[in-house]
């Protein structure tokens, strides 16, 4: 795996609005090798990737491909040169078919007209090549699951005969078992001699996949190491700039014991997506809700929060029957939901930090919320929010982790008794993650009941006092907080005998 690099980036510099985002970053990619790019939120990973993809033009520095200097003025130039990218943002057209998405911008022609059949045939072949017969080329992307959409993006990159593929957090929305499929695909790419640039916040993936690791911090190159020479602890130290001791804060002792009164209880809850949902959460407790992508965890959260409510069963908050029909009722009852999708469900991006933070108070408690609103700046600073423009800054300019903090502050302002958190650490860096974990513990200590939904098993197991695992819309079983990953997966995939587990 040595020899001349296929792609060589040298001294790449890039500023936005006068702010340096990359300062003289070097990066080499070799054929058949996975190169991981890591760093905190806002370190400049995506920006570097976009420079490579031709989305941004660097202010300085050079890119060489096969020893020849190149300048990608447009993404298409990069693609033509064999540099394909799977961007961090969703990059498909939901209303178009898989084939149309894969060939977008390069539709094959026959006698001047687009040859739809050829397009579908070629797509089918690509899918088959990766062993993904489950996706049909004529399906609308809208009808695919998130994981499938992710696969389509990768297929699209592959279809360009790319020699270099960069992937920006391709697994952010994937559950562990789906990540396996991605591993397989990356394995094939490696066999084919493709150079892969891989960005992820999941350390496990990085050590599973990468041969080389480059760390960025605040736009500066920290260093590049062979993966074997760098243990996880050392990697984190390089990223954060300080050693990080324990990732997960200590649970309240004694672990798993019910520390307070029952704050949330669900019995026989069900709707068109889930059925027979029943569990209790006590104040001070963190209940983990496990399951595969699509197992219905978000649906349960949404039902509790009154978005797609339970059509049967009963939800009690602090002993009162609530059965919320809208988020508003849920919030009034003291139950809040930190949604999994920050940008589309959590934030009004053009509004200020403060306006977003006040939104729940404004919407649900418009009168007499003054005292609570006045506490908001305190809440924000206790979350260590970093907003260069202060609290008047529009949240669109914050990094992902800081945006998530605004979302949390918004809900904390409502002083909830029960917090449901759906993927609260998705896409945020180690440091921010730790802040969120600490916050959860503190809330629990204050008597808040927490339901945590996460697709990262270590997080689930590390944080939860108790686990409920869903499978296909039903509860597959309950586990103590110190259960191991195999036990959770066994329930989630339905490979454990149901009766036994449920008892």
């Amino acid at each position: 795996m040595t020899g001349e690099p296929l792609l060589r980036m040298r001294a790449i510099t890039k500023s936005f609005l006068g702010v340096r985002v990359l300062h003289g970053v070097d990066l080499d990619l070799r054929a058949g090798e996975v190169h991981a790019l890591v760093g905190e939120n806002g370190a400049g990973k995506s920006t570097l990737m976009k420079v490579l993809a031709g989305v941004h033009r660097p202010d300085g520095g050079t890119i060489e491909l096969d020893g020849e200097q190149v300048a990608f003025e447009h993404p298409v130039r990069a693609q033509r040169a064999g540099v394909a990218t799977v961007f961090q943002e969703f990059n498909l057209l939901p209303e178009r078919t898989v084939a149309e998405n894969v060939f977008l911008g390069r539709e094959p022609l026959r006698r001047g007209l687009v040859d739809g059949r050829a397009m579908e045939r070629a797509t089918a072949a690509l899918l088959a090549d990766l062993g993904l017969e489950g996706i049909a080329p004529w399906q609308k992307v809208r009808s695919l699951s998130v994981a499938e959409q992710q696969i389509v993006e990768i297929v699209k990159a592959l279809s360009q005969d790319a020699r270099v593929i960069s992937m920006d957090e391709p697994t952010a929305a994937l559950a562990d078992h789906e990540v396996e499929v991605l591993y397989r695909i990356i394995g094939r790419l490696r066999e084919r001699g493709v150079a892969v640039l891989y960005v992820s916040h999941r350390l496990k993936e990085i050590f599973d996949l990468a041969a080389t690791i480059t760390v960025l911090k605040d736009g500066d190159l920290v260093g590049t190491w062979p993966a074997q020479e760098l243990g996880p602890a050392e990697l984190v130290r390089q990223m954060v700039g300080r050693p990080v001791s324990a990732v997960f804060p200590e649970p309240l002792e004694p672990r798993g014991e019910h520390v307070g009164r029952v704050r949330l209880s669900v019995a026989g809850g069900g709707n068109s997506q889930v059925d027979g949902i029943g569990f209790e959460v006590r104040g001070g407790e963190i209940l983990g809700l496990g399951g595969l992508q699509g197992s219905g965890r978000t649906e349960v959260a949404h039902a509790l929060f009154g978005i797609a409510r339970f059509t049967r069963g009963e939800v009690r908050v602090d002993g009162r029957v609530v059965n919320p029909r809208s988020p508003r009722q849920a919030v009034r009852a003291g139950l809040v939901l930190v949604t999994e999708d920050r940008k589309s469900q959590g934030l009004a991006l053009h509004q200020s930090v403060l306006a977003n933070g006040r939104l729940v108070l404004d919407a649900v408690f418009p009168f007499g919320s003054g005292p609570r609103a006045r506490r908001l700046p305190g809440v924000l600073s206790s979350l260590e929010l970093v907003a260069r423009g202060g609290h008047g800054q529009e949240v669109q300019y914050l990094s992902g982790g800081n945006q998530q903090k605004v979302v949390l502050a918004k809900w904390l302002a409502a002083e909830p008794g029960v917090m449901v958190m759906d993927e609260p650490t998705r896409g945020i860096d180690v440091g921010a993650k730790q802040a969120v974990y600490r916050l959860m513990r503190e809330l629990a200590a204050d008597g808040v009941a927490i339901v945590l939904i996460t697709s990262e098993l270590p997080e689930l197991i590390g944080m939860a006092d108790r686990l409920v695992v869903l499978d296909d819309g039903r509860i597959a079983g309950e586990l103590p907080g110190d259960a191991d990953e195999e036990a959770v997966m066994a329930l989630a995939t339905g490979s454990a005998p149901r009766e036994e587990a449920a008892s």
């Binding site: 936005f16 999708d341 469900q345 800054q393």
Partner: protein, 365 residues
């Protein structure tokens, strides 16, 4: 309509590089006193300067007050339209509504002073109903507001004419005409301070305060991202419906002033919806929602009226006026979007594609 969340739905987002050159610092964006307001204030000032060179006596009190009296209804309409636009919708029905209200007033009052107050109450009720229909059809039945209000525009236009047999009948009372026509008399220098002007100022002040209230912030957030708003406990349907109701009530107020100003004619109100939208957009308020200020919208209305006055002072042939008007709006909006006031792609592009997103948002998206 297309109420694209992004300024130019189809255009690629501005290359950040371009912005980098133009804008010194990121922080500048938030610290600038709301770019839209500054721009429109500048344009207004410019027009006033040109008017002054043409007709120095324009600023001598009475002419200026006359300008205020004439502009007041549009300012009020613009504030109403602003509330709807900032919530992410459109109200095309206000022109028809103004016409309908004046005609209703004339027919029901029929010159009888005693009927003034009852009819004013009835008009308010009617405005309320129109606003409710616009709002509820848009939010609950999920009809795009451009279609909803286009529909109510047709319905109001036809219904009122059908009711009065095609041309307005009756007459307004003297009392009805006071707010639109009279003012505080014998004021030194100014000679008369029109009620209309005072009412418009009050409406703008109320609008500014409203936007600083919880409702205002909620409305703004709804226009910015209605899904996130709904997930935060905002009753999107009621917030938006209230904006439509406010727009219709303000259109009713504008009708009282317009009817008061000039009496009943068959054409009253025609085309005002586009003028109002133009005013709001000139104020830098972004179609699609979530951005812009009341003050800017009001200044936009003054700018439009000042423009009309200027054309007049310049003896521009009246047939050319629309052309000049068209070029100026395009230029103003292009300038604003150049400066980056309207930048950044709006359509949220996220990975997880959750169906639940659709169940909560209201009309579009």
């Amino acid at each position: 309509m297309t109420a694209p969340a992004s300024p130019t739905p189809s255009a690629p987002p501005p290359a950040p590089e371009a912005d980098a050159r133009r804008r010194p610092r990121l922080g500048a964006l938030s610290s600038l006193p709301r770019g839209g307001t500054a721009t429109v204030a500048l344009i207004l000032l410019l027009i006033f300067v040109v008017i002054a060179t043409q007709n120095p006596s324009f600023f001598e009190g009475p002419p200026l007050m006359g300008f205020g009296k004439k502009a007041a209804p549009l300012v009020i309409l613009a504030v109403g339209q602003y509330l709807v636009i900032v919530s992410g919708e459109f109200d095309l029905s206000v022109g028809s509504l103004v016409g309908a209200q004046v005609v209703i007033a004339a027919r029901l009052i029929d010159g009888d002073e005693a009927m003034t107050w009852p009819v004013l109450a009835l008009m308010a009720g009617f405005g309320l109903v129109v606003g409710l229909v616009n709002g509820l059809v848009t939010t609950l039945l999920r009809v795009p507001s451009i279609i909803t209000t286009l529909g109510t525009m047709l319905v109001l236009f036809g219904a009122v004419r059908f009711w009065t047999g095609g041309a307005p009948t009756g007459a307004l009372s003297e009392a009805f005409r006071v707010p639109g026509r009279n003012g505080i008399e014998n004021v030194p220098v100014l000679y008369q301070i029109p009620w209309a002007l005072l009412i418009a100022v009050a409406v703008v002040v109320a609008g500014v305060l409203l936007m600083r209230s919880p409702y205002g912030r909620t409305l703004m957030a709804t226009g910015d991202n209605d899904t996130a708003a709904a997930f935060s406990g905002v009753r999107v349907w009621s917030v938006r419906t209230l904006a439509f109701v406010a727009s219709s009530l303000l259109a009713t107020l504008a009708a009282v002033l317009i009817g008061g100003y000039a009496g009943v004619t068959a054409q009253v109100g025609q085309g005002l919806e586009f003028t109002a939208i133009t005013a709001v957009v000139l104020g830098g308020v972004v179609l699609g929602g979530g951005r812009g200020t009341v003050l800017a919208a009001a200044l936009g209305a003054l700018t439009v009226e000042a423009l009309f006055t200027l054309f007049n002072q310049l003896y521009l042939p009246s047939t050319i006026q629309p052309a000049a008007q068209g070029l100026i709006i395009i230029a103003a909006v292009a300038y604003a979007s150049r400066r980056g006031e309207l930048r950044l792609p709006g359509r949220p592009r996220r990975r997880p594609d959750h169906p639940t997103e659709h169940t909560l948002g209201s009309s579009r998206r």
